[in-house]
């Protein structure tokens, strides 16, 4: 699904984690060329078994190397449907989580701001924006909708 925003295009991808006691990475988006990623976030959209979910993060993988987009320390264990997580810091920071068990406010010691990045595809190689998790559930069963707002920086560049 794709829609045009006032300052960029937003794409969405539904991903389903099914790993049993271990790690799993899922491709969310394919990067073509170079793009400005303005916003990157996700929402827990369906939960069957989701007791344990740690080391959660976004990264960029070009088939040979991985670059963190958020720290591999995000925790989504037990979060209900509707919980939001978003890249609001540099790569060394875990994504911010808004747990909708109660009303929640995404702030920290400084005003919360989407943290942008420029992302470049490895020349001639499929390059993916991924989400990874670790779980002790056997198996985990959860669906998340991942969203990315982006702007092309070179002709033909895109996030799909």
């Amino acid at each position: 699904m794709q829609s045009t925003e006032s300052n960029g295009t937003t794409v969405h991808k539904d991903i389903t984690f099914t790993v049993a006691i271990g790690n799993q990475w899922l491709n969310c988006f394919t990067i073509t060329g170079s793009v400005l990623v303005q916003r990157l976030w996700g929402i827990v959209s369906a939960v069957t078994t989701f007791t344990n979910c740690t080391s959660a993060c976004f990264d960029l993988n070009d088939g040979a190397a991985t670059i963190q987009l958020t720290a591999a320390s995000g925790v989504l264990s037990g979060m209900p449907v509707g919980t939001i997580f978003a890249k609001a810091g540099l790569a060394a920071a875990a994504f911010v989580v808004l747990d909708n068990t109660a009303g929640d406010v995404g702030e920290s010691t400084v005003p919360l701001e989407w943290s942008e990045s420029i992302v470049t595809q490895k020349s001639g190689q499929p390059t993916y924006l991924r989400m990874g998790i670790s779980t002790t559930d056997n198996p985990v069963a959860v669906v998340m909708r991942i969203s990315c707002q982006w702007v092309p920086l070179t002709p033909g560049s895109k996030v799909t």
Binding site: S6, N7, L60, I67, A91, S117, K122, L153
Partner: protein
């Protein structure tokens, strides 16, 4: 134009690098009045002979004076970068432009969480003096052979102000 951006106007200019064992300054955009430049970046489109490209930067140049103001630090290095490599002003004038070398997947972040491009305002020298944003560099190649597409997104600050491909 790459994308509709109601908050600004996007322009681009193809520049051809052709210096032989020396430096070259290439006009990218001509400034009229005063504008707020929100994004400034480039992409290498041809790198036929591109072994050395150093001391690279963006500057504001006034034809009469002459006078220059650095927009990025004059120590950018694009030597041997391939087609598709992106370079962008992501810091203040005292900071080298950021380079995304597409030999591998690459990510460039700001110094602190938030906006990646570093914005600035520029003003044309009074008296209708031709004032341009230039790309300058030095090469040891004889000659360097390459092209780059330079992009800017800007907003006019006064009536009639604009930035147009030079």
């Amino acid at each position: 134009m790459l994308t509709a951006n109601p908050g600004g106007i996007q322009i681009s200019k193809t520049i051809t690098l052709a210096a032989s064992g020396g430096s070259e300054s290439l006009n990218c955009f001509t400034l009229t009045g005063s504008v707020w430049v929100r994004q400034l970046w480039g992409v290498i489109q041809d790198a036929t002979s591109f072994a050395t490209c150093t001391a690279a930067s963006f500057i504001l140049y006034e034809a009469t004076g002459p006078s220059t103001n650095q927009l990025t630090k004059n120590d950018g290095v694009l030597s041997a970068m391939a087609v598709g490599t992106v370079f962008a002003k992501v810091g203040l004038a005292g900071v080298t432009f950021g380079v995304l070398n597409n030999a591998a997947g690459a990510v460039l972040e700001p110094g602190a969480a938030g906006q990646i491009f570093s914005e600035f305002m520029v003003t044309q020298r009074t008296g209708a003096v031709v004032t341009t944003i230039q790309f300058q560099y030095t090469t040891a190649a004889t000659p360097i052979i390459g092209t780059a597409q330079i992009y800017a997104t800007y907003t006019p600050l006064t009536a009639g102000s604009k930035l147009i491909p030079a």
